[in-house]
């Protein structure tokens, strides 16, 4: 067998699944195949909680492919590995070369062996001892630390081949996208909603997105920003369908006819209603928002209750108990922060009242809505909605 560099991915939670584990695994490999397709052709095999991605001859950039693996939900860890013959002489000969840079950079190391193939003539402890000795004599600056080593040299002897790799990198975790159904996220262009979408995608949800555009109050650049934000989320979640709802007329009607201090809560309710209709039309089972308790006037407990009353679908708010700093931390990690802070007006900042009601009473809110031709305005907005597909960028 030729030696070949491959990517090993470790399954996460789905290892705990029972009889339907297979369907989760299939989904993960399908997502992985889609995400890696841009780097060339691949073969995949799954065994013992590990997926092996074997690159075809046309794969030129294994590092970039490995980075992409780190963004596929369902895997808790990944690493590049050398796939080689199950032959102790070969393993002895190639390990030092393959991990040379990492071994030189480390001060302490340990060897961790796993022998899935029990017919292999060396036991795991024997492999560890043998390889520890080989590496120590070649790299005399190293010392062994079995508890907290800089580098763990992994030797995995599996059914068909042996795999050699260094430290495993942290994967995206979660459940494979699409394994838990579909939900629609309301996205404005701020910091929160992309993080909320990412968090729910992490739990296996496929994401649809609903964006409200209010030209001329919001610009084409503001919508482009939403495309770019979703493009980042799509690196994890796979492609996202975006529904852009024309919202100007509704916002102007609220501004012209309703009490100023209720503007925000009314706007939120109409957004939720419209999003729910679009969600239903697209087989989504829930709505997702980036709200967190107390962040702004529309996110007080009372305002949230009032917003929820407008819809019957479950509303997922994964950021509900998080501080802004915690949200920002995630947005930096998934690389949406810098885009989020581009200073364009979005639908939520248009006509912001000076003193929004923080304790809105449902009765007054409903009365205010009676001042509007709600049904016509909503159905026109839905009729004018454009749908586009956002791919990972």
């Amino acid at each position: 067998m030729d030696m070949k560099e491959v990517i090993l991915l470790k399954n996460g939670e789905i290892a705990l699944k029972g009889l339907n584990r297979r369907s989760f695994e299939d989904k993960m490999i399908k997502n992985l195949r889609y995400r890696l397709s841009r780097f060339g052709s691949w073969q995949f095999s799954a065994a013992q909680s590990t997926v092996t991605a074997i690159p075809g001859d046309d794969v030129a950039d294994l590092d970039a492919a490995a980075d992409a693996c780190g963004k596929v939900f369902g895997f808790v860890g990944y690493s590049k590995a050398l796939m080689t013959d199950k032959d102790m002489d070969v393993i002895r000969a190639v390990t030092g070369d393959y991990l040379e840079d990492a071994l030189r950079a480390a001060k302490t190391f340990k060897v961790c062996a796993r022998r899935a193939d029990k017919k292999f003539p060396f036991t795991s402890p024997e492999i560890c001892m043998e390889m520890g000795g080989v590496l120590l004599s070649r790299f005399p600056h190293l010392s062994v630390d079995v508890h907290n080593p800089d580098l763990t040299v992994n030797i995995e002897v599996r059914d068909r081949a042996a795999f050699i790799h260094g430290n495993q990198l942290k994967g995206a975790g979660g459940l494979p996208t699409g394994s838990a159904g579909k939900a629609a996220v309301l996205i404005s262009g701020g910091i929160d909603s992309p993080v909320a979408a990412w968090m729910m995608a992490k739990r296996g949800l496929e994401i649809e997105a609903v964006h409200f555009a209010s030209p001329p109050y919001t610009s084409e650049r503001a919508e482009k920003k939403v495309h770019d934000l979703l493009g980042r989320v799509a690196q994890y979640s796979g492609r996202i369908r975006l529904h852009v709802v024309p919202f100007t007329e509704l916002q102007e009607a609220i501004r012209d006819n309703c009490p100023e201090e209720l503007f925000t809560i009314l706007m939120r309710r109409y957004m939720m209603r419209i999003a729910q209709t679009i969600a239903e039309q697209n087989d989504c089972g829930a709505l997702i928002t980036g709200e967190s308790v107390g962040q702004v006037a529309s996110q007080t407990l009372y305002a949230l209750a009032c917003t929820d009353e407008a819809v019957s679908m479950p509303v997922f708010r994964p950021l509900i108990g998080m501080d802004k700093n915690e949200v920002i931390e995630i947005s930096r990690r998934i690389d949406t922060f810098e885009l989020s802070i581009l200073p364009y007006e979005d639908c939520c900042t248009v006509f912001t009242p000076k003193h929004p009601r923080t304790h809105p009473k449902l009765y007054y809110v409903q009365q205010a809505e009676n001042l509007l031709e709600s049904e016509r305005l909503c159905s026109e907005a839905i009729a004018g909605t454009r749908t586009l597909t956002i791919r990972a960028h």
Binding site: P215, P216, Y217, T218, S219, E220, E252, R255, D256, E260, P343, Y344, E345, T349, V350, F351, T352, P353, K354
Partner: protein
């Protein structure tokens, strides 16, 4: 009809320039430094373009150095002078309303121990000549003031700087960012204005993006120039080593052709003054518009406040293919430095628009803009405060 009224941001490339670019790309693609004929033909393009720009600036071709544009010209002027003049002093005097390519260069020098004095402007957007005189001392190595401000069109008293420098006995080099003034401001002659370095750009005068020039009084020779400035990039012998690298002949060809195709500066000034007056008359008939540009500003730039936030108004106009820029660079916090320096109230800054002309602008375009502006003011709602 497309109605482009943002000529201070960039201008459409004129036919002459486009043809010159295309010719250089398709036919005269040689390296101007090559010794054979193909190279000499490319070099001829540079010679001709250099002459065109020198003619406009009333200077000698040897005093014109091609760069990639206004930003690079300003960077060489500020950073190159500071580096060459370091031993003569450490004070740098600029205005508080300079383009970011001057301001950011100066800020970098501040971190290297230079003292940067930023002159405030009056309510008219103009740096008072006395302020320049007060700021320049014996330790001053560079004074940089733009000829025309890019946001409000205020014409700065650049020709007063030489006197201030002389009176203080300062060794200072005088730089002028003339990107908005070139081809537009009558009497823009660095020699007569007592300016040592002057930056100009091609794409503001109907040339292509990617070309500009720096005027250096007396020319530049490594180690022996009358104006002390040093290069920022290093390489071959091109542009007297002040700006090495194989010249972008197509862009420079377009620059030269665009400058040759420009109308006479004085005649264009008269035409554009009429446009400006027509605009101001129309604006006076719309309620709630204030003009932020001073009355004696360059007529090519008119800055106004409309009472409606800049971003929705710009978007509204953009949907009618009318293009102007917001006086403030962007919404939310990034308020215009220039308008703030002029002491304008926040509401006026938030609703500022810059309308900027070229000699190609027509009265019909202005009428279109005025109609749309009035419509926008009627239909765009503002938050009820």
């Amino acid at each position: 009809m497309e109605c482009y009224l943002d000529n201070s941001a960039t201008t459409p490339v004129c036919a002459e320039a486009a043809e010159a670019v295309s010719d250089a790309l398709l036919h005269n693609w040689g390296n101007p430094s090559s010794l054979y004929r193909k190279g000499m033909q490319a070099e001829d393009i540079l010679i001709s373009a250099r002459e065109a720009i020198a003619d406009r600036l009333y200077c000698r071709p040897e005093e014109v150095f091609f760069t990639s544009g206004g930003t690079e010209s300003n960077n060489i002027a500020i950073l190159g002078t500071a580096s060459a003049m370091r031993r003569y002093g450490s004070r740098i005097v600029i205005s508080s309303v300079e383009h970011s390519s001057v301001e950011e260069s100066a800020r970098t020098l501040e971190t290297q121990g230079f003292e940067v004095v930023r002159l405030p402007v009056g309510p008219d957007g103009i740096v008072p000549a006395e302020a320049i005189a007060r700021a320049v001392n014996r330790n001053t190595i560079l004074v940089s003031v733009m000829a025309v401000n890019n946001e409000v069109g205020a014409i700065q008293p650049v020709q007063q700087i030489r006197r201030a420098v002389r009176a203080a006995g300062a060794p200072a080099v005088i730089h002028c960012d003339a990107v908005q003034a070139f081809g537009k401001l009558p009497g823009l002659r660095p020699g007569a204005m007592g300016v040592d370095l002057m930056s100009v750009s091609a794409h503001k005068v109907h040339g292509p993006k990617g070309a500009g020039a720096l005027y250096v009084r007396g020319g530049y020779k490594k180690g022996g120039s009358s104006v002390r400035v040093s290069p920022r990039t290093f390489g071959g012998l091109q542009e007297g080593t002040l700006r090495p690298g194989t010249e972008p002949v197509p862009a420079i060809a377009g620059f030269g052709a665009a400058v040759r195709a420009l109308p006479d500066t004085d005649e264009a000034f008269v035409h554009v003054s009429q446009l400006r007056d027509h605009l101001l008359e129309g604006l006076a008939a719309i309620d709630g518009i204030t003009v932020n540009s001073p009355p004696d500003a360059l007529p090519y730039i008119v800055n106004i406040s409309t009472g409606v936030n800049s971003e929705p108004m710009m978007n509204f106009l953009s949907r009618r293919e009318i293009y102007v820029s917001s006086g403030s660079a962007c919404a939310k916090g990034h308020k215009s430095r220039v308008l703030r320096s002029m002491g304008l109230p926040d509401a006026a800054i938030a609703s500022a628009l810059r309308v900027s002309f070229s000699h190609e602008t027509t009265h019909a375009m202005i009428d279109m803009f005025l109609d749309a502006l009035a419509d926008g003011k009627r239909s765009i709602r503002t938050a009820r405060r």
